[in-house]
Amino acid sequence: MTASAVWTAEIEATLGRLRLDVCLSGDLRPVALIGPNGAGKTTLLRILAGARSPLRGKIEIGDVTIFDSEDGTDLAPEHRRVGYVPQGFGLFPHLTALGNVAFGVAADRSSESQRQAAEMLRHVGAAELEARLPIRLSGGEKQRVALARALIADPAMLLLDEPLAAMDPIARRRLRAFLASHLAQVRRPTLVVTHDLRDVKALDAFVYVLEGGRISQSGSWDDVASKPTSDFVAEFFDVQDRELSPGCE
């Protein structure tokens, strides 16, 4: 990407039969990670968040090196300052919606953190769900709470794994807009996994295409869309004339 990269991730890892070998970077413009099912998107996000260590590679966010296989650096998840929304919600079942959102806010300003959390719930359209436990929430409601929880903690980087997949169309549109303005405002690098072209467009995201553990294409969405190198990209951008342009290799 550009020389002004805010984060870079150079990762080699294996997971079962999948071999992940990628190099990504980004600035403050949101980055969308797209790719077919099983390409390794969730695995990549989990590695960035610190769930597992890559075999080789280097990950930097801002001026902090959070992983480097050369010198053995491997920061614990709590020191990486990433906000992670896992695929499938991942709400704490013992906390109410408000409790979930307030979890990441420093506990010393208790009433203030409650207020902030309530405010964030309102932003994601879940104000009236404050007191509910996750088991009493619908799929889309859970996803809103999970998103609010990741946004409120003011992390150095956001990792969102299909954050809008269960939302209804209105919520999706509103939250896309909210996310775009929120990200522009807090100026945090963001990596968002999505299967929806409209998410990419709304966020005006830089696109990485992950296929079979490798980056097959990258660029602004209109760049990628105009020169699809695989069926997947062509389909994703609904490119009508499917003459695939040659890949980068």
């Binding site: 769930a51 998840p77 709590e78 992670y84 079942p93 088991i135």
Partner: protein, 269 residues
């Protein structure tokens, strides 16, 4: 297929009957006058009080130390964990009396640690601390195993989210793993407490049976058994009744926490 369900369930109720019937038989055989006598028995008061104090303290120790141990056991499936997992059950397979001798060989005056402790002016054996050590040793395995089983079912993704939200490993453990595992911890704690309350053999060997100091309820009961079976039964029944009420209360308190949707669960099983 209705009868398949009924016949499977009836096996279960048969077992429930077996677990309840001994106490019921004793209750039927004992007259109210005998029960009253049991409560008035000179051994009753002091030993009940001692049992309550020591089992509560043992439970506290078991929970405070057993919870991290269980967490470590659940954290991975490597060789150290597997070995430790099996070793934790050592005090269950050995007859309690032998566990008592082992404790004596460890903490007794001539034991491995007894000498150094003696120099510090601490005498463990044949004093109330021995009662607690004996109870901790025989009851901890039940709590640790239950807690480890509960921790193994905590979704690692939730821990990851907690960590990314700034929690240290200990913080994620305390604020996420423990609350999620709580029902398992409570039921394991109830088992361990009950086991400590009924503990006899190791206490007799390691702590002796000194009224007021080391003579817990089961020791008093077995002592009474030697002189007056009826009185012993009456005391046991009072003990069992009190324990069941306590355990029932615990369940009511634990049950206040909303859990899985009760109606749909009962409709499906």
């Amino acid at each position: 297929m209705k009868w398949a369900r009924a016949s499977v369930l009836s096996l279960g109720f048969l077992l429930l009957g077996l677990l309840v019937v001994p106490a019921m038989a004793l209750l039927v055989a004992a007259s109210p006058a005998e029960l009253a006598q049991g409560v008035a028995h000179p051994l009753f008061g002091p030993s009940l009080w001692l049992s309550l104090r020591t089992t509560m303290l043992s439970l506290a120790i078991v929970v405070v130390c057993g919870t991290p141990l269980a967490w470590w056991l659940a954290s991975a499936q490597g060789w150290p964990q597997r070995l430790a997992d099996a070793l934790v059950e050592l005090p269950i397979v050995m007859p309690p009396a032998v566990v008592g001798i082992g404790l004596l060989e460890t903490f007794g005056r001539s034991g491995l640690l007894g000498g150094p402790l003696e120099l510090l002016g601490i005498q463990v054996a044949f004093a109330t601390p021995a009662v607690i050590l004996a109870q901790v040793t025989v009851s901890a395995p039940f709590y640790v195993q239950a807690a480890a089983a509960a921790f193994r079912r905590v979704d690692p993704d939730l821990l990851l989210v907690a960590r990314t939200l700034g929690q240290s490993p200990v913080g994620a453990f305390a604020r996420v793993a423990i609350p999620i595992a709580m029902p398992g911890l409570v039921s394991g704690g109830a088992l361990a407490w009950a086991r400590a309350l009924g503990e006899f053999g190791a206490t007799l060997l390691f702590a002796g049976s000194l009224p007021g100091t080391t003579q817990t309820m089961p020791l008093a009961i077995v002592l009474a058994l030697e002189s007056d079976v009826r009185a012993a039964i009456a005391i046991s029944l009072v003990l069992a009744g009190a324990a069941v009420l306590l355990l029932l209360g615990l369940r009511l308190v634990a049950g206040l926490r909303p859990s899985d949707d009760a109606t749909s669960r009962s409709k499906l099983s």
